[in-house]
């Protein structure tokens, strides 16, 4: 557990970057610091590993005051990941990853073997291990940065906008992998970003900072969306807060409708007969997984993949109410496709029913 108590940083030129920040980052959880540029996120993060010394307040890690610890030893016990990965250009990927273990006295051959495993864990091919960082793509470099920070298996990870220098598609991948990794590792993570969507996606708790380095609000993403304390936080969260908030509400038992379906490859006649006058009918594969909606009237001969409407999203019974609502809204038949955890079709739901479920969930909370 990392505890910041009334932490302050005034730089020699008089800039107050952090003006009394109190915050607790619980064990095994991701705490996200988010806020506009210059609000003191990086400064706050760097005070935790003493790359910047606070001018007031105290920081403890598992009850130990960091000010009393040797800075280098403190840092070796904390992984740190930054925007451009900060890889050592003159060391191969594998030696980059092995840096801290070697520093801590692990034999080089052992450290390298562990590094190989880590590279695999963060989704990098073993073939990349011998390359130098400038021979990697930005996304790959960032993965190496994460692997390097994890190498000594530190209980604490500090991450400063680690995914912001890559394009949106790669960023999304990295975020998903990061969440998967965290679900296995359960590190205590302080994660800095200026991207509120990233904060909400990754954070177990999100701390919104104002310029001047003070805490505006700290809460779970769902609570933050549901109940911002003031206009600043509300503005910062952006629009569609109600809709985005549904993303954190588990889908309750929905009144699923039976749906007539047609196996892929059926003839036009079969499809017409099954549809029995309905305009849209859902095509399934042989595992009963939904493939898409089809209009039997418009078929030429068979139900083939090219004739399927691809616009509809699919929601899982394990997913959020947001997924369920979106499935209904995006479906050409207005009936949202719901699947079970294994991806098999279980029924459909219309928007009005999802909204009633939202109301019920509201009333219960």
């Amino acid at each position: 557990m990392i505890v910041l108590e009334d932490v302050q940083k005034r730089f020699p030129d008089g800039t107050v970057a952090v003006g009394g920040l109190s915050l607790t980052a619980p064990d095994g959880r991701i705490t996200v610091l988010v806020g506009p540029s210059g609000c003191g996120k990086t400064t706050s993060l760097r005070m935790i590993n003493r790359m910047i010394e606070p001018t007031g307040g105290s920081i403890t890690v598992n009850g130990q005051d960091v000010a009393a610890m040797n800075p280098n030893e403190l840092r070796r016990g904390m992984g740190y990941v930054i925007q451009h990965a900060g890889l050592f250009p003159h060391r191969s990927v594998i030696d980059n990853v092995a840096t801290v273990p070697v520093l801590l006295g692990t034999k080089k051959s052992v450290a390298r073997r562990q590094a190989m495993e880590l590279l695999e864990r963060v989704g990098l091919e073993p073939a990349l291990a011998q390359r130098y960082p400038n021979q990697l793509s930005g996304g790959q470099q960032q993965r190496v940065g994460v692997a390097r920070a994890l190498a000594a298996d530190p209980p604490v990870m500090l991450m400063d906008e680690p995914f912001s220098a890559v394009d949106p598609v790669v960023r999304e991948q990295l975020q998903d992998e990061f969440l998967r990794l965290q679900s296995e590792l359960g590190k205590t993570i302080v994660f800095v970003t200026h991207d509120i969507d990233e904060a909400i996606k990754l954070g177990d708790q999100v701390a919104v900072l104002r310029v001047g380095g003070t805490l505006a609000q700290v809460a779970s993403p769902a609570d933050l969306l549901a109940d911002p304390v003031d206009d600043f936080v509300a503005d910062f969260l952006g629009k569609d807060r109600g809709y985005r908030g549904l993303g954190f509400q588990a889908t309750p038992q929905l009144p699923l409708r039976e749906e007539v379906t047609v196996p892929i490859g059926s003839s036009k006649e079969q499809a017409l007969r099954l549809a029995a006058g309905q305009r849209w009918i859902l095509a399934l594969d042989d595992q009963r997984r939904p493939l898409g909606w089809v209009e039997p009237e418009h078929l030429r001969d068979e139900v083939v993949p090219t004739m399927l409407h691809r616009g509809g999203t699919v929601a899982s019974t394990e997913g959020s109410l947001r997924n369920a609502l979106d499935a209904a809204l995006s479906s050409p038949s207005r009936r949202g496709v719901i699947v079970d955890a294994a991806g098999r079709f279980v029924g459909t739901v219309v928007a009005a029913e999802v909204l009633s479920a939202v109301e019920v969930a509201r009333a219960d909370s």
């Binding site: 790359m51 070796r76 925007q83 250009p89 003159h90």
Partner: protein, 214 residues
């Protein structure tokens, strides 16, 4: 060129001395310039004075420096130490700025990453900053090496024998052969030294080879 064939041993002997008198100071100069350049980087207030001061050393005429050395050092006028020290001063003059520039070229995020991993200041200097500054430092070192090979020949005038002696000898006897041989030998030496430095740099910077990824 019958003169050369008759004096091969002598020319090689002079070349060896020439090499020692220009390269030993190159090494000493580099070793002294490293901490000075590092300090210029680390203490912003010292940057100006250190760079300007060391640069100024290069403007001292070499002959004057060679003649002054015995007075400053209290050595014999013919002592090669005089030349070694003078050439070291020239090397420092060229290398302090290069070292400072080379260290400045190390990306900030890389040094910060090193710090964040608990790599202490000294270890960071030797294992991260210095290796990454090698390409820039080496570029300066090549200039200094060639400059040393050229300047050291002036020492012939104060009687320290090396390839420069061939110039004074030829001049005194109004005999052109030794002069031509001396010039060619100096050129060959400079090119060889340059190639040697290039080779060492290539060995030290394997990460600079192989194209960057798309």
């Amino acid at each position: 060129m019958t003169w050369f064939t008759g004096h091969v041993d002598e020319v090689f002997g002079l070349a060896r001395t020439h090499l020692v008198l220009s390269m030993v100071p190159l090494l000493f100069g580099l070793l002294i310039a490293l901490p000075l350049g590092w300090m210029a980087r680390r203490v912003p207030r010292l940057y100006g004075p250190l760079i300007a001061g060391s640069g100024l050393l290069y403007t001292i005429p070499s002959l004057a420096l060679f003649i002054l050395m015995p007075l400053v050092l209290g050595t014999q006028i013919l002592d090669p130490i005089n030349v070694i020290v003078a050439m070291t001063i020239y090397t420092i003059a060229l290398m302090v700025r290069t070292v400072a520039d080379g260290l400045a070229a190390v990306p900030d995020h890389v040094t910060q990453a090193a710090t964040s991993m608990g790599i202490g200041r000294w270890r960071r200097f030797f294992t991260v900053e210095l290796p990454l500054a090698v390409p820039v430092i080496a570029a300066g070192l090549r200039v200094a090496a060639v400059s040393n090979v050229s300047i050291v020949s002036v020492a012939a005038i104060i009687g320290v024998a090396q390839l420069g002696s061939l110039f004074t000898d030829g001049f005194n006897r109004a005999f052109v052969d030794p002069i031509v041989v001396g010039v060619i030998a100096c050129l060959v030496l400079a090119v060889a030294v340059d190639a040697a430095i290039l080779l060492v740099v290539r060995l030290l910077t394997p990460w600079q080879r192989g194209g960057a990824a798309a």
